[in-house]
């Protein structure tokens, strides 16, 4: 019984990712989409808070959105997995519910 959380806003502008990380439970998954993909960046003012949940929570980034924004995978935090839209579908199917942090 676990939840897929989606975050679609930049963590540098909006507190959605932080609130998501504060509410997701161990074993949940967080998928960063749209402007939310910036949450995957390493060496930012948010990076430590995101990295602190890796392991307890499975973190994913939607690669088409990352590519559009010029985010190379090598710039991302270790432990964040990239998925395409089919991977997004699998994540939805594999978790009991999806919660969008709009």
């Amino acid at each position: 019984m676990s939840t897929l959380h989606t975050v679609n806003k930049s963590p540098f502008t909006n507190t959605g990712l932080q609130s998501c990380l504060d509410h997701c439970k161990d074993g949940d998954a967080v998928l960063m989409i749209e402007d939310g993909v910036y949450g995957a960046l390493a060496e930012t003012v948010m990076a430590e808070r995101v990295a602190g949940r890796i392991g307890a929570v499975s973190l994913y980034v939607l690669l088409p959105d990352a590519a559009a924004r010029g985010l190379a995978e090598k710039r991302m935090l270790n432990g964040i997995a990239g998925v395409d839209y089919e991977g997004f579908v699998d994540l939805v199917a594999d978790h009991d519910r999806t919660l969008a942090w709009l």
Binding site: N8, Y85, F88, V89, A93, T98
Partner: protein
């Protein structure tokens, strides 16, 4: 598995309608069913047939209309949200005394009950918004 999808933001303005489109295509490609997509809040603006995007841009409404036709997806536009924002079908236009309508083929206007029903009848509900 059956997926229900909610789109809460308008086309071009926000990426929600694009992300949802790619998600639904991928879900169908993997053998899932998407019986209905529900357009709420500014998402109702996706349904206008009067949109004329630049030639080199995707046509969001036409993409949805085509996808729905191909896969039998029920594209439901919330009537309350649509009325506020000026989205009407021929029937509603007549009832409201308006001289034009603007809903595209493949979309139908109905009530919020269709959203709840979608939540009940599908295995997963995914919201794309802002």
């Amino acid at each position: 598995m059956k997926f229900g999808v909610v789109i809460s933001e308008g086309p071009y303005t926000h990426q929600a309608a694009d992300t949802a489109y790619h998600f639904v295509r991928a879900a169908l490609a993997k053998g899932h069913e998407v019986p209905r997509v529900f357009f709420y809040h500014d998402g109702v603006n996706v349904s206008t047939r009067l949109s004329v995007p630049p030639q080199d841009e995707r046509h969001i409404q036409k993409n949805w209309t085509a996808l729905a036709k191909e896969h039998g997806i029920d594209l439901v536009v919330c009537i309350a949200a649509a009325q506020r924002r000026g989205l009407l079908d021929e029937n509603e236009a007549g009832r409201q005394g308006k001289d034009a309508d603007n809903i595209a083929e493949g979309f139908r206007i109905s009530g919020l009950g269709q959203l709840i029903e979608m939540g009940i009848q599908t295995d997963r509900l995914v919201t794309f918004g802002d």
